[in-house]
Amino acid sequence: MKPHRLLVAMAAAVLMVAAAALLFTGRGGVQGAGPGTPLVGELRGALVGGGSTFLNPQMQAWSREFYRATGGRVTVNYQSIGSGAGTAQLIARKLDFGASDVPLGRDRFEELGGRLYQFPVIVGSIVIIYNVPEASYASTGKRIRLSPEVVALIYMGEVRQWCDERIRRLNPELADRLPCRDIVAVHRSDGSGTTGAFTLWLSRNYAPWASEVGHGYTVEWPADKVARGLGAKGNEGVSQVVLRVPYSIGYVEYAYWSLNADRYDEVGGVAEVLNVNDGEYYFPSPDAVALGVSEALRSYAEEHGAYPSASEDWGPVTEALVTPPRGYPITAFTYVLVWRDYSAEGYADPATRASLIREFFRWVLTEGQKPENVVEGYIPLPPEVAGIGLKALEGVRG
């Protein structure tokens, strides 16, 4: 029966490694506790949240900095299971908070609106990248300009080549450098808030897109129907495909372009996008993005008489963000969703949970928006927007 002994030995080996690893756990707590101003009070405990993939790198950073700031007493475990799943798992009471690139849909909101708070924690901005070696930024010093109409027509498979008259008309200075090559329209194949904001922008700025395609986490790309499209997984997938496939165009989160801007400039670049309301083309600089967000919220407030609050339907805000009076026009918020009353929702130990939620997100909306805590490629909230969440947190009860 020797193999039995072998099995025991194998099991023992695995267990020993596991035990050794477990011993390190003691060190883990101490090790993470670095510099930083310890928070007052005896806050201690763990939160579990999940949702938006886009938010993940920034949320990891917030979680870790908060962990350090509390001397390792508070762990916020955030996992990027996707916006839709994050919302669904929060509503199923399996998570303490959720994060989503899209606010609650109207039906969900009407069902739960009174019990949930949703507030923005970061600004997202979508940029349009292209691979056209003949007209690359590195070789021409100029960026291709695009209007929502032309972008829509490309993704509808109607503008088929870079030398199309409708593209050349927007780019008189690059007109003779735009090659007559077929455009590959790269889009996401996974559901994503990035696609949501991009297609919402197309819908609100080019009517035929709204009626023929619509907007959402995933849409039926007309370009796919005529074999002009190419689906890629994640922001990373789209950016890698655009870098590798000549004559392609794609849309990614700001961070995926800004960290590799030089590489895009070699093969093409990032488009300057037309804001149809003021007729200007905007390069996606952090200032132009911040301008777009502030102007959008200002116009929203003028129309509705006030800024939105955390217990409102945020649908109209997302629409305002893609039709700002001035500034870069393709932006969206990422929202955090929390319960209003954790004991009423049946959570265990609701008082601690509510106070952890309050303290963590209070920190996120104040300290977390400072440059040293914002990850490169993310754009912090304008202060008046951060205030919306801060106000809501006062109402979170345990």
């Binding site: 993939t53 299971i81 996707g82 916006s83 839709g84 799943a85 919302t87 669904a88 899209v102 849909g105 077929d182 590959v184 889009h187 996401r188 194949s189 996974d190 559901g191 994503s192 395609v213 619509g214 907007h215 959402g216 986490y217 995933t218 849409v219 039926e220 790309w221 796919d224 129907k225 074999a227 499209g229 190419l230 689906g231 890629a232 997984k233 997938g237 890698q240 495909v241 590798r244 496939v245 000549p246 004559y247 392609s248």
Partner: protein
Amino acid sequence: MPEISGPLLVFGVAAYVLSLLVLVRLRLRWGLRLLGLGMAALVGAMMGLFLAEALPALYRYGPSLFLRAEWDPPREAYGLLNALVGTALTASLALLMAMPLAVSFAAAVNEYAHRRFKAVLSNLMDLSAAMPTVVFGLWGLFTLQQFARWANNLLASLPPPVGWLFTPTDTGLGIFTASVLLAIMVTPYAAAVIREGYALIPREIVEAIYAMGATRFEAILIKLRYVRSYIVGGMFLALGRALGETVAVAMVVGGNLSRLPTSLSDTGITVSSLIALQFPNAHAYQYMVPTLYAGALLLASVSVVLNLIAVRYLFRR
């Protein structure tokens, strides 16, 4: 919702415990039979869950859910036909490429490799089982894509009938690339099963083969016929992996969710990767989650049917 799966799961666990007890105390064969039943119960429980979750979509769309190629969430219009076609194409193409490689690897490593080298090679191949598939996916996107583009365009330039199956591509991403990547990923699984079987061929049989005057190559062929139960086992393992693989396929298949592919070079999608790509945000829609479960149910049902046919056929003989 999962009312069916709960009792079935309980039954599965109970069947296992019972079978162990029976195994020790009473008749071994009945204990094992109970365990076999437990397996069927587990699969039954999973399919019950899929069915329960899929019902809303099945009611709403009827058979057209499986007969149309469509993926239009804003209008809640879904059809899984292209995902099924993509699954069938990638899995069969991958198996077609992988099986000769796996059989050859198993034979070569046993016939020619030095004892040390053999162990190293076998361990390396087995190691690939542990590699997270995202690593394969990224490798496919970065490295394989270039090769696949070249190979695809070469195949497309061949005379018919091969040339008809392919069209030239600029992107190097699509069903063909996904199939190649899948073949690479499943070869080690099939190779491992066959390799172990090959190594277990009794010496008397090998001696008998050579005693009959067979050449080395003929001997290999005879030995491969001798280990056919391992080859079948390896093939099922490889087929299973090819059907079930999600992330790596999703990264290179070109994510065309809404149109039937027109050639092997075209972009497409598979059922498994559709589930992995779309599930994280599916709850935002009313019928997407049920549709994805319907996809999982269909995948499982098709393979149950295929397997039962295989069983029937084997019984006849």
